[in-house]
Amino acid sequence: MKARVYVMLKNGVLDPQGEAVRHALGTLGFDGVKGVRQGKVIELDLADGTSEATVEQMCEKLLANTVIESYRIEVQ
């Protein structure tokens, strides 16, 4: 089975990389880009039957820093 973890900076935490991407899009002529947030996607190839709760523990312990990041799990 596979799971995907989306890690994003929490709302309210300034994302300097997202801001730089937003500026670059404006420079390229893409008007109206009001905001860009950059995160990461982590794909996990897991033993069948791994529970979502286990993936959640992986996120809490390592994959996300919950001080500044939030995460969302998608089990496929």
Partner: protein
Amino acid sequence: MRAAVVVFPGSNCDRDMAVALRAAGADVQMVWHKDAAMPDNIDLVAVPGGFSFGDYLRCGAIAAQSPICKAVVDHAQRGGYVLGVCNGFQVLTETGLLPGALMRNANLKFICKDVDLVVSSSNSAFTSGYGVGDTVCYPVAHHDGNYSIDDKGLARIKDEDRIAFTYTDNPNGSVADIAGVLSENRRVLGMMPHPERAVDAGHGGMDGQALFRGLFDQMVSA
């Protein structure tokens, strides 16, 4: 004073740290990230700068899960002293020993220069050799030194006088110009600037010496 300097794959300030500690009179041992325990009777654990595990995932995140870091946390929880500099500061926030997190510099650039800091609290073994309001000059060399903490956490560390150093000219976007933070028991210090690179007149000044001497004095009198 007996000190241990942690070495991860990718550490690059470990030997500078050992030199600075020895110059202050410490007996220093290097400990490898796979070691599960500290040597006996260690007073201070120093977590040095560098790019542990290539900064993969997040700076300090992989190092914080290494066997030696469990021993670092145990040492801190027993009331032992811990100094984390640069990547070491990132590791200590990832272990939860210090509040907040270090994010990408606000200008997205790697910053490598000398910066002026103000000593914000002299109430710790690390900063007892300075006076509150003293200005010291240490080098910084980091890409992810932008200290972030929520409003509640910031109010708390301010109330508890746990901000050790602030930048006079904030280089990286850190909240409240914070350059270094103390733990609740004041025995764990994390900071982005490098005091261990400021202990030799031939290498850019001596301002860091008082930090290591302060620690040494504390350990000798304890």
